[in-house]
C-alpha cells in the first residue's frame, strides 16, 4: 500500500529523518516506536504532507502514486488519515459540520455524489455506535474544551467516518487513561479490514497490548534501526531504549 524509500526530511535546515525505509501492505499493522526526538511524529507529519517539513530526498509511493507530489488534502482524499497527537480546536465549528464539509469534499474529489443531510446523519449514527461517542460531543465546537480522552475519541470517530485506507495514529495513547485507551483501541480494531493498513506511532508499549502490531520498528536518530514482531515491543518495554543505543554504539 505504502512504500517509503530512503526518506530524508528536515525542518529549518535540521535533518530529522535520515533515510527511512518502510513497506506497509494492506491488512497490516505496523508500530513505530522510539525514544523522544527520534523523528516519529515527523514521519507521521511528512506522510500527511505538513509543509513545515522539507523532503530532501527519497520517495514515498502510495497505491502506485507519488505521494510527495500531492497536497495534504489530496492525500486525505486518496485515503490517508492522521489521528493527531494534539487535535486542533476550531471554535464555532461543530464536529458534525466539520465532518460534513470534509466528507463531501472527499467525495467530490473522488467524483462521487455528495451526501445529503439524511444520509449523512445515518452514517453518523452508525459510526457513533462503533466508537461509542456521545451525540452531544459532536454538536459542540470541534475539540474546544474537550478532555484529552474526548479529543482522541473524536479523532477515531472522524477516522470511522472518513473510512481511510491508511491510518496513521500519532501518539494516540498520550494523555489517555486505561479506559479511554481501550475504547480508542477497540475503535481502531473494529475499523481494521484486510484492505486497510495502520501505522501506530507510540512511545510506550501499552497501546500495543490492545492494538496488536504485525511489525514493530524502532526509530532512532532519524533511522529505523531495528525491526521485529510484537516481541520487540515487549523487549523495549522491559529494557527501555538504552540497550538499542548501546547496541548501535558497538556496531
Amino acid at each position: 500500500m505504502i512504500s517509503i524509500k530512503n526518506l530524508h526530511a528536515s525542518i529549518e535546515d535540521k535533518e530529522i529523518l535520515k533515510g527511512i525505509n518502510l513497506e506497509v501492505k494492506a491488512g497490516e499493522v505496523h508500530a513505530i516506536m522510539g525514544p523522544n526526538g527520534s523523528g516519529k511524529s515527523t514521519l507521521a507529519s511528512v506522510l500527511a504532507g505538513r509543509e513545515d517539513y522539507n523532503v530532501t530526498s527519497g520517495s514515498v509511493t502510495f497505491e502506485n502514486e507519488n505521494l510527495l507530489a500531492l497536497s495534504p488534502e489530496e492525500r486525505a482524499q486518496k485515503g490517508i488519515f492522521l489521528a493527531f497527537q494534539y487535535p486542533v480546536e476550531i471554535p464555532g465549528v461543530s464536529t458534525t459540520n466539520f465532518l460534513k464539509t470534509a466528507i463531501n469534499q472527499v467525495k467530490e474529489a473522488r467524483g462521487e455524489k455528495a451526501l445529503d443531510a439524511v444520509h449523512f446523519l445515518k452514517l453518523m449514527k452508525e459510526k457513533m455506535k462503533l466508537v461509542d461517542i456521545d451525540q452531544a460531543l459532536l454538536s459542540r465546537s470541534l475539540n474546544e474544551g474537550f478532555s484529552g480522552g474526548e479529543k482522541k475519541r473524536n479523532e477515531i470517530f472522524q477516522m470511522a467516518m472518513l473510512e481511510p485506507k491508511l491510518s496513521i495514529l500519532d501518539e494516540t495513547d498520550s494523555g489517555l487513561d486505561i479506559d479511554a485507551l481501550k475504547i480508542v483501541a477497540d475503535g481502531v480494531n473494529t475499523l481494521k479490514t484486510d484492505k486497510t493498513a495502520t501505522i501506530v506511532v507510540t512511545h510506550y508499549q501499552r497501546l500495543l497490548d490492545y492494538i496488536v502490531p504485525d511489525y514493530v520498528h524502532v526509530l532512532y536518530k532519524g533511522r529505523i534501526v531495528k525491526s521485529g514482531d510484537k516481541s520487540l515491543a515487549l523487549e523495549l518495554e522491559e529494557k527501555g531504549y538504552d540497550w538499542i543505543k548501546e547496541e548501535l554504539a558497538t556496531v
Partner: protein
C-alpha cells in the same frame, strides 16, 4: 515566505466581484459644493421650503466644522470640491411602477443578484433600489400599504408624508451631529423611508440596495425608520459599487425611532468596493447610524457584516431612553489587503432597567487594520442598567492589525457592565488539520472564519445569512498564515 503565507496571499487577493459599471445617461450636478448645489439638489427633488432651509442650515454648520481625526484610520485628504453631489440615471419620466423602470436599470440590479421583477412574485422581501443619488424602484408598495406600512424612497416620502418627515428627520441624528452627518444633511439625495403603524408586525423583510455607479460621485443617502407603538420590522441594507481607481465618498445617515414596545432589527451587509490589492481606489465609508429606543420596552438591534470599503468609519448606536429598553449590536468586520475599518457602537443608557449587548468580531488579513471602538455610557437616572460586551479579533498572517478601544462611562452605581475581549490567529495548525481531513485551504479558511463569526451570522435573516457567509469567504480568499 512560507507556503501558508502564500495561501494567505492568494486567498486575500481575490478580485472584487461587483466591479463593473453601467453607462447610463446621467442627470448630474456640477462638481463641488456650495449653497447653490444645495439649492440645486433641493430643487431637483421639488422639496418644500422648510426642507431647503434645513439643508442650508446644515450646510452652514458643516462649513464651521472640522473633519474628525480621532479614528484609527489613515486616508488622503478628501477634496470636497472634487466630488459630484448629485447624479441620477436619466429616466424620461418618473416611473409609476416597475414596468416603467428603464430596463437597463433593472438589468443592473439583476446582475447584482437582486431581481426586482422576481421580487414582484416572491414574497418575503420588499426592496427599495437606489442607484447613485436616486431611488429607482420600490417593490411591494401596494401590499404593504394595505397594512398601513409606508415603505418608499425618501424623496417620495417628502412629497407624500411631509408631516412624518418633518417630525422625525434629524430627531435621532441632528444635522450638526458630526462632520459627515452635517454634510449628509446638506446634500442627501435619496434613501429609504419606512413607517410601521401602531400594532403592526411587518410581514416581510424590508430592504434597500444601494449602488454607486457614476464616477466622481459621492453617495449621501438617508434612511429613516419609524416604528410606532407595539410594532415590529426587520430591515436589510446591502451595498455595492463599481471598481474605480479613485476613491469615492459615501456618507450616509440612518435614523431609527422605536416607540413603546416597538422592535426594529436592522441588518447590513456592506460590500462597497474595497480598492484593489495595492490599496488603490475604493469607497470611503463614513456613516452615522443611530437609533433611539424612545418608548418603554422598545428594542433596537443592529447586525452588520462589513466586508467592503477602503475605509470604514461607522458606529451604529442606540440611545436607550425608554425604561426596560434593549439595544443590541452584532458585528462582523473583515478587512483585507489595505482596507481599514474603525467600527463599533455606542450604547447610551438613560432609562431604568435598560440592557445592551455588544458582540463584535473583527477579522483582519493582508496588510489591513481593523479597530473596534465602543462606548457604553450609563447616565445618572439609569438604575439597574446592564451591558455585556464581547470583542473578538481574528488575525490572518502577520502584516495586519487588530485594535480594541472600549470606553466605559458610568454615572450610576447600580450598573452592571461586563467586557470580554480575545485575540486569536488562524493557525497553520488549524488549516493543516482541515486539510488532513480532505478540506482545501479556501474552504478551511471559510469554515474557520464562519465559525468565528457564527454568533453574529446567526442573527442575520435567512435571506442574508447565506449571502453573508459566501461574502466572508470571498473577501478572505487567498489569506491564511
Amino acid at each position: 515566505m512560507s507556503t501558508d503565507d502564500q495561501i494567505l496571499e492568494e486567498f486575500t487577493s481575490k478580485e472584487y466581484e461587483h466591479g463593473w459599471s453601467v453607462d447610463f445617461e446621467a442627470d448630474e450636478a456640477p462638481l463641488g459644493i456650495n449653497e447653490d448645489i444645495v439649492r440645486f439638489i433641493s430643487a431637483k427633488k421639488e422639496e418644500p421650503q422648510w426642507l431647503l432651509d434645513w439643508r442650508l442650515k446644515a450646510f452652514a454648520q458643516w462649513k464651521q466644522m472640522k473633519e474628525p481625526n480621532w479614528a484609527n484610520i489613515n486616508y488622503p485628504k478628501i477634496d470636497y470640491q472634487a466630488i459630484r453631489y448629485y447624479s441620477a440615471p436619466k429616466q424620461d419620466k418618473k416611473p409609476k411602477n416597475l414596468d416603467e423602470v428603464d430596463p437597463e436599470l433593472l438589468k443592473t440590479f439583476e446582475r447584482l443578484g437582486i431581481s426586482l421583477q422576481e421580487q414582484k412574485r416572491l414574497t418575503g422581501v420588499a426592496v427599495d433600489a437606489v442607484i447613485d443619488s436616486v431611488s429607482v424602484a420600490t417593490t411591494f408598495k401596494e401590499k404593504l400599504s394595505e397594512l398601513g406600512v409606508i415603505f418608499c424612497s425618501f424623496s417620495e416620502a417628502v412629497q407624500e408624508h411631509p408631516e412624518l418627515i418633518k417630525k422625525y428627520l434629524g430627531s435621532v441624528v441632528p444635522a450638526n451631529d458630526n462632520y459627515f452627518a452635517a454634510l449628509n444633511s446638506a446634500v442627501f439625495s435619496d434613501g429609504s423611508f419606512c413607517y410601521i403603524p401602531k400594532g403592526v408586525r411587518c410581514p416581510m423583510e424590508l430592504s434597500t440596495y444601494f449602488r454607486i455607479n457614476a464616477a466622481n460621485t459621492g453617495q449621501f443617502e438617508r434612511t429613516l425608520i419609524v416604528a410606532d407603538d407595539d410594532s415590529y420590522v426587520s430591515y436589510l441594507e446591502g451595498c455595492t459599487a463599481p471598481q474605480r481607481d479613485e476613491n469615492q465618498l459615501h456618507a450616509a445617515v440612518v435614523e431609527i425611532y422605536a416607540a413603546k414596545n416597538a422592535e426594529v432589527k436592522y441588518s447590513t451587509v456592506q460590500n462597497w468596493y474595497p480598492g484593489d490589492k495595492n490599496g488603490k481606489g475604493g469607497i470611503f465609508n463614513f456613516v452615522t447610524k443611530r437609533g433611539i429606543c424612545s418608548g418603554d420596552h422598545s428594542k433596537i438591534s443592529w447586525t452588520q457584516v462589513e466586508t467592503g470599503s477602503a475605509v470604514t468609519w461607522k458606529y451604529p448606536s442606540c440611545i436607550l431612553k425608554g425604561d426596560h429598553s434593549v439595544g443590541e449590536f452584532y458585528s462582523v468586520a473583515v478587512t483585507n489587503n489595505y482596507q481599514q475599518a474603525d467600527t463599533g457602537t455606542k450604547m447610551v443608557h438613560l432609562g431604568k432597567n435598560t440592557r445592551s449587548r455588544i458582540v463584535s468580531k473583527g477579522i483582519s488579513a493582508g496588510k489591513s487594520q481593523n479597530s473596534y471602538r465602543g462606548q457604553v455610557e450609563v447616565m445618572k437616572r439609569a438604575e439597574n442598567a446592564r451591558n455585556f460586551s464581547q470583542c473578538d479579533s481574528l488575525l490572518m498572517g502577520d502584516k495586519c492589525g487588530a485594535h480594541t478601544f472600549p470606553y466605559i462611562d458610568i454615572k450610576n452605581k447600580s450598573a452592571q457592565i461586563e467586557h470580554e475581549a480575545t485575540t486569536s490567529k488562524i493557525g497553520e495548525d488549524q488549516i493543516f488539520y482541515c486539510q488532513q481531513r480532505g478540506i482545501d485551504e479556501e474552504t478551511a479558511v471559510a469554515l474557520i472564519v464562519n465559525g468565528f463569526a457564527k454568533e453574529v451570522m446567526n442573527k442575520l435573516p435567512m435571506e442574508f445569512a447565506v449571502e453573508a457567509q459566501k461574502l466572508l469567504a470571498l473577501t478572505l480568499e487567498g489569506s491564511v498564515g
